[in-house]
């Protein structure tokens, strides 16, 4: 088994990497915050969050703040474990 096996394909994109990084250090983030931080378009960000949601790496909560719909994202324990493994793999590959 090579080291590359620990590199998670689900995180192999700058936006997804960014989403996971933000959710690792914040309890949650809403759509607007992710958009501001990552400088992504609505459609682009939505497709990446959907991909991470499908893997069960992030949890999506839709709610209303007053009358405005608000989408909140948080990392699942599975997502956090997977991302930690991914970071460790990256670090090992760099040190090689």
């Amino acid at each position: 088994m090579s080291l590359i096996d620990n590199i998670n394909k689900a995180f192999d994109h700058r936006i997804r990497l960014g989403i996971m990084s933000i959710l690792m250090v914040n309890d949650y983030a809403d759509f607007k915050m992710l958009k501001e931080m990552l400088g992504a378009t609505d459609g682009n960000l939505a497709s990446h969050t959907k991909a991470l949601e499908k893997e069960d790496y992030i949890k999506v909560e839709k709610q209303f703040i007053g009358r405005k719909p608000n989408t909140r994202y948080s990392a699942t324990p599975l997502g956090k474990a997977a991302f930690t493994k991914h970071i460790n793999a990256l670090e090992k590959l760099i040190r090689k």
Binding site: E36, I87, L90, L93
Partner: protein
């Protein structure tokens, strides 16, 4: 080739983690300038107090201007208040301008989630401390006002440090300690103010400026 991409990924992860949880554009230079304003303010306050206390016409300390008669302030109290507010205003304006410049340079937004969070976590203890000082004045324990401002300012810094440059925490601890010491030397509040708000702002501001901005 691949190696580079991994390296980029790691630095992107680190960057996102710190940028999403900490406001990094706080300017060290504004800390230095705030400290200098505080020292100038303390010097002006001291010379005004000396003037009123030692002036040949010692009755002047009791002189109340027309304005002060209406509002019940002595002329000295008004001057000291003006000095205090000028220092706060100058420090705030300088801080905002320099932080705005630094944020623009590093591509960070001045008003985003992280700066809002920083301001709330800094502002809440500070506001409570301010209210508490009014209570001290109301109960005529004015001698504890200077130590109290130092302690609450320190607590505000410690609380806010989780959301900005880590060195703010040490500025906080320093001010708390100076504040606690000051409680034992009532009447010398101005000197402790000059030390905490003046000297140590300059010290930590310079530390931040030369380490992170040069």
């Amino acid at each position: 080739m691949k190696q580079n991409k991994y390296l980029e990924d790691i630095s992107e992860i680190k960057n996102m983690m710190s940028r999403s949880s900490r406001f990094m554009s706080l300017s060290g230079l504004s800390g230095i300038l705030a400290g200098i304003y505080a020292l100038i303010g303390a010097f002006l306050a001291k010379s005004n107090m000396d003037y009123y206390i030692y002036s040949s016409d010692s009755s002047e300390i009791l002189t109340r201007t027309e304005f002060s008669q209406v509002y019940g302030f002595s002329a000295l109290a008004i001057k000291l208040l003006i000095i205090a507010f000028s220092v706060i205003l100058a420090a705030t304006v300088t801080g905002i301008i320099l932080t705005y410049n630094k944020a623009k340079k590093s591509g960070e937004k001045m008003w985003d989630v992280s700066s809002r969070r920083l301001l709330i976590n800094f502002g809440v203890p500070l506001l409570i401390g301010g209210l508490f000082c009014f209570v001290l004045i109301q109960q005529e324990i004015a001698g504890l006002v200077a130590p109290t401002t130092l302690i609450f300012y320190g607590l505000a810094c410690v609380n806010a440090s989780k959301y900005t440059l880590g060195k703010v925490r040490y500025l906080g601890y320093t001010n708390i300690i100076i504040g606690l010491i000051a409680t034992q030397f009532i009447g010398y509040g101005l000197y402790f103010w000059a030390l905490g708000f003046g000297v140590f702002h300059i010290f930590y501001g310079a530390l931040m400026y030369f380490k992170d901005e040069k």
